[in-house]
């Protein structure tokens, strides 16, 4: 094809006097200034590629290169390419016990947990958002607490109640009452699924609840007027509208469960029930870096598969705009005679998922000898005493200075990270939705979620390498406050970006276009129209990373070089000293701080992740 032929279309498109390149550029910039979505998208893409994709690639490389100490096994020198680790994990005689059996167990746990979380979270979300049940406001706040507690507290509570002589030691509660629970109830699959379900159902509650609240009752009314029965309305209107939130919630639960180590380990160990995370931690703790990398990468791959399924689902069930320029109505369903039973059900969930684990934990902090129920054995010294026997920590938690320093550090670092996270998340959501259908959009959508699929322990190590030296325009951040915040932002970004995407999906262009017609620039539209409408999800975007970040340990241990004591590290130190009561008291303080900050965030934003459910 000749040069001339190729140029001709251009020539016809452009006016004879050809405006200069500068003029064209100016025009484009002008458009971009009013709608800088693409520009923001490109910047976000670059940032995420560096912060998320590169660490994952280094992880994969670790699993494909001979590690130091493995020369003899791999029969190659360190640093050379090898398939030894792949072979060991997937094909060797031990792969059955190391990988395949744990894989099956993991999938069983994931499915089971998701089902329980959906049942608990979905039903509670509906009761809180769409009915006139008693105490909705209160429950809306209270039912977030299970996620605030570290997941192992559920395992602890479970064992306190259900353990039998297989573990031994103090009598379990059931045993003491004369009914010895069988092994299948005390350990392994069943308790892991139940406790994880109880821990993660707030994800479903928050995301689905938020979607339900935004759902315009007029849509349901129209259907009802047209004679559709309740079931049809739910199936054809409500379900499709909350589906993005629902799939998001399922994804969040599933991916988190795959990487969760503590609970499956504690409850699974007595009956040798292993999941992939168990194998991963075992390899990392025995310095089998190569095998650990392969396992971590596999966990990422499984997560990504679920992510792709999710992406497909969302595409199929197009997005539905529920916040348009028109008026909307939120009407509650009258429960009538079901009002009391509904309340009792919610109270039951609260008791099981909040009172029992919190109570067990609290009880452990006021007893000198665990499990001995005599009056003389109870004390508040671990909270407010000032003359404890414990070396190096002679004061009760509440009167010790160390606690307050650690708490302030935690709030400062995690709080900052969460706020950055929320804004970033909303931006990601904005770009993903506005540019929907483009590659940029799907890359952002997935990259922002990837950190969630990488077990924290693997991520922290990669960060260490990434930021220890200056690379291009990025200075060496290692050992600084910044890298800790940065790592936390990336680590928790999935929450905020999910919240952002799910919220933006429901927000049509109309409100923004209306503002644009009135002459509002992008910044003004964002701050005056988009943000206020989205303040509910912005709150979710702050609080979820906060709750999750304040419990975070592996990133902190790896990246905090200045020895900055956080609440989590304080708790771990106390465990190391053998001061279980003090350590558990710190865990309660973590839960308290989380809860308080959640509450404050709600108050400040006027809406809330929880009361936000109420509308």
């Amino acid at each position: 094809m000749s040069v001339e032929a190729r140029e001709r279309p251009n020539a016809t498109q452009e006016p004879p006097d050809r405006p200069s390149r500068v003029a064209r550029l100016r025009y484009r910039l002008n458009v971009a200034r009013h709608d800088p979505t693409l520009a923001i998208g490109i910047v976000l893409t670059a940032v995420l590629a560096y912060l998320v994709v590169v660490p994952i690639i280094t992880l994969v490389i670790d699993g494909l290169q001979v590690q130091y100490g493995d020369q003899q096994r791999a029969q190659k020198d360190p640093g050379e390419w090898t398939t030894y680790y792949l072979w060991r994990v997937f094909r060797s005689p031990i792969s059955e016990l190391l990988f395949w059996e744990p894989l099956v167990n993991t999938l069983v746990v994931v499915v089971g947990t998701t089902v329980i979380a959906l049942l608990l979270g979905g039903s509670m979300a509906w009761l809180l958002a769409r009915t006139d049940m008693f105490g909705r406001k209160w429950f809306a706040t209270a039912l977030v607490v299970p996620y605030i507690l570290p997941s192992w507290t559920f395992a602890l509570a479970w064992l306190t109640i259900f353990k039998n002589r297989r573990v031994g030691g103090q009598l379990g509660l059931m045993e003491a009452l004369g009914a010895t629970p069988p092994d299948w109830l005390a350990y392994g699959r069943v308790p892991i699924i139940i406790t994880l379900g109880m821990h993660y159902f707030p994800f479903v509650l928050l995301l689905v609840g938020n979607a339900l609240r935004r759902l315009d009752s007029q849509l349901e009314d129209s259907a009802r007027i047209l004679g559709a029965p309740r079931r049809t309305i739910n199936r054809k209107i409500v379900l499709p509208l909350v589906r993005p939130a629902l799939t998001s919630a399922i994804l969040l639960v599933t991916a988190k469960v795959i990487g969760t180590f503590g609970t499956p380990y504690i409850l699974g160990l007595p009956v040798d029930y292993n999941v992939l995370a168990t194998s991963l931690y075992q390899s990392i703790n025995s310095r089998q870096t190569g095998v650990g990398a392969v396992l971590a990468a596999t966990i990422v791959v499984i997560g990504v598969s679920i992510l792709l399924i999710d992406a497909r689902l969302v595409r199929e069930y197009r997005r539905f705009v529920t916040i348009g320029g028109k008026g909307a109505m939120g009407r509650v369903n009258r429960l009538g005679r079901w009002r009391l039973p509904a309340f009792l059900a919610a109270a039951g969930v609260f008791t099981l998922c909040v009172v029992v684990p919190l109570g067990t934990l609290f009880l452990s902090t006021i007893m000198v000898v665990p499990g001995r129920f005599e009056l003389s054995n109870f004390t508040l010294d671990f909270w407010i005493g000032d003359d404890l026997d414990s070396v190096g920590f002679p004061q009760g938690i509440l009167v010790s200075e160390e606690l307050y320093t650690a708490a302030w550090n935690s709030v400062r670092i995690v709080g900052l990270a969460s706020i950055i996270c929320a804004v970033l998340g909303l931006l990601v959501g904005y770009v993903v939705v506005r540019l929907a259908g483009t590659r940029l959009s799907s890359f952002l959508r997935q990259a922002a979620f990837l950190p969630y699929l990488v077990p924290g322990i693997a991520f922290a190590a990669a960060y260490l390498s990434l930021f220890a030296v200056p690379r291009g325009p990025i200075p060496a951040l290692y050992g600084t406050f910044t890298i800790l915040v940065l790592a936390m932002v990336v680590n928790q970004l999935p929450f905020s970006s999910r919240a952002g995407i799910s919220a933006m999906m429901q927000l049509g262009r109309e409100p923004e276009e209306a503002a644009q017609v009135c002459g509002a620039g992008w910044w003004r539209r964002t701050t005056r129209v988009v943000m206020p409408i989205q303040k509910g999800s912005l709150a979710v975007g702050v609080v979820m990373p906060f709750i999750s970040g304040i419990k975070e340990l592996s990133v902190v241990i790896m990246l905090a070089t200045s020895g900055t004591q956080l609440l989590t590290t304080l708790s771990v130190d106390l465990v190391e000293y053998g001061y279980t009561q003090l350590a558990n008291a710190v865990v309660l303080v973590i839960a308290f701080v989380s809860f308080t900050m959640t509450y404050i965030a709600q108050r400040l934003t006027g809406t809330s992740l929880a009361a936000g459910l109420q509308g």
Binding site: G69, V167, I284, V369, Y478, G578
Partner: protein, 395 residues
Amino acid sequence: MRRARIRITGVVMAATLSGATLAACAPSSEDEGSEATGQTSAASPTVEIDQNFDLDELVEAAQAEGKKLTVYDSTGAVEDIAANFEKKYGIETEGIKSDAPDTVEKMIREAQADNVTVDVAVISDIASIVNELFPQEVATNWIPPDLADTIPQKNPLVAVVSPSVFVYNNETYPDECPISNIWELTEDEWQGNFAMGDPLNEPDLTDWFSELTIRGADDLEGAYASQYDETLETSEENAAWEWIKRLGENQPKIFADEETLVASVGVRGQDDPPIGLMSVAKFRDLEDKDYALEICEVSPWVGYAYPKSIVMATGTEAPNSAKLWIHYMMTAEGIEPQVSDGKISGNSDVPLAADDPSGVSEYLEDLLVFGTDTAQANGQIRPDMQDFWRLSYSG
């Protein structure tokens, strides 16, 4: 003279040297040191000891550096030691508690990036020191020359030895431990009733198994013969592999954390408490908890003791402060917070803790002590040992 000192500190030597070697002959500590060096030449070619060493000069040089020293250790006692060190020498020091895998990972990454913040580290996983840190020149071994004579294990320098022992519930069994031989743990009577940590998650347990196969096979074979009056027949490589296999097949109780393990053995009022294997340091934590715990006197060993080594980062900006710290850790004064937890100093001149809630000092000669000479082998064998355990335990 030298021999006399060995007698005096015999128990400590027994703990720090490999028990078997000591029983055969009692070499001078210097000989043992150089012997160890020869054996592990592959890991780190030589252990250099500066003959013109002067402690005062080192102190001066360290203070002149004016850098903050950051030290890592897997025990919380490191914070106390750091505070004491700072007080004594006026060098700003921060002690950070960090588990061995994290410390090793961190040191490697820091060295790769040439941005070293961990100046000195005490690491319990000797295998990863000799297999990873030394070959990659991440860490350096340094021996305080003035103390070299009384430090038997130098490559890498062993700072402390941590004993773990078999224990039983002395309320349920008031007279004595219900077993006298560790082969009994593989019998039906103790099926599902032996409490231990997770060999797949705790390298010191995996390494204990490796040590059994490397230096404990004969003792285990002898113990079998004396228990059952017959020779052990096994298709495994040796008696130790057979014992490990039978132990796994007997489905011991595996615990995620030592706290619940100890409770499982020591809680009062139990009809059928398990025999347990726990670290001596736990005895001190338990003083308030009123557990009925006592060391179980079994043959051939009442437990094992694993070494923790101290190394300095090759790229540290404060090499003299780092050396001074190592020196301090090898003195009675410096290591005191760890010794009082029941650990044994790698310097045979440092006495054991005066008060010892566990009573382990009576049994030091009955511990299987890991030598650093086998560290490399332990590291190599670790995946195999874990596989072997996985297969045995899952039956």
